[in-house]
Symmetry: C2
Subunit: 193 residues, 2 copies
């Protein structure tokens, strides 16, 4: 039996990502985001929610660019710090977090070197919804740490060990064991057809 | 060292959700979605990507309503089936999946009874991006299985056992062990300040 718990924005699981942008003078900046998703397959688009008071918000509007960077669990402390600290008061927060950036190939935003997956996005749409803006970027390139790729180009998700954010519990978690294959295990339900 | 792998829309982890809508005649329908996110805190909004060929797309536009329902891992077979089967060719796919619906309190869309968390959303914005539309709904109510709630109202995420979708590997996974507390473990990075 379910009960109403009021207006709690609960989704499980969500990723804990770093949004990479350039502040004025091409100073690399990163903000932690737990609200992001693929938005479209063709053209490939990704979206992320950013509070309007954030420096990252201003940077995305000015540069028309952002990157989404997927951290492994060993970066949890740095990721949490980049969610707590504001560029407005700690402009060197990226260095304090022990992270480094490099230029993206196709957009005006930095890749976070220590994150094993980085996605370059060119701003194509946005929705001002309230305290957050939902920014949508068209994917321009995807970068993956070579050692995580199999011969067929698939990512070894176990070794990637992506950092997961659990709302309500307010903690970070590992991704766990495999339940079963997608686009396959549901076929059993069709047997009675 | 990262290498470019072309345009791969990779995010880890993502939830495997069921989108609940009404087809004509208040027939409950559900579609599996792996691309969804909270979009705004105030007002609370959630978004989901839906292919334009899907019955769910037509239903959301017609009713201005949808629900997002979070399944536990024990529903993996049903969830996978609801991603494979189309309402257009299998109108009773919800029954075949062994799932049931009940009326939502505040929107014109059904809750999936078997899912331990359900979110009622009223359509407030959308972006037609290409083969998918990104629908944004304002959260009108949140329902949680009572047995998952602690005395302080927090969800026991371990018992919820949410179904996670791992792109690239194309499989479903459990959420794993705790890495550390959010809004807390990053404070260690501030010690040199």
């Amino acid at each position: 039996m379910k009960k109403s718990v009021g207006l709690q924005t609960l989704l499980f699981p969500m990723p804990a990502l770093l949004v990479g942008t350039y502040s004025e003078g091409d100073v690399g900046s990163a903000m932690t985001a737990g609200w992001a998703s693929v938005c479209c397959a063709e053209p490939p688009c990704l979206g992320v929610a950013v509070r309007q008071v954030r420096k990252t918000h201003e940077n995305i509007v000015r540069t028309g660019s952002f990157t989404l960077n997927i951290p492994s669990c060993d970066l949890a402390e740095a990721v949490d710090y980049l969610g707590l600290a504001s560029f407005h008061s700690v402009p060197d927060k990226l260095a304090r977090a022990g992270l480094h950036v490099e230029r993206a190939a196709r957009v005006n935003a930095p890749l976070i070197i220590e994150c094993p997956v980085s996605l370059e996005c060119k701003l194509v749409a946005h929705l001002d919804l309230g305290c957050h803006t939902w920014f949508v970027g068209e994917l321009m390139d995807t970068h993956v740490e070579e050692t995580l790729l199999s011969e067929t180009g698939k990512i070894d998700v176990g070794r990637l060990d992506p950092l997961c954010y659990a709302m309500s519990a307010k903690d970070y978690r590992h991704l766990g064991k495999v339940v079963g294959p997608a686009y396959s295990m549901g076929k059993a339900k069709d047997k009675g057809k």
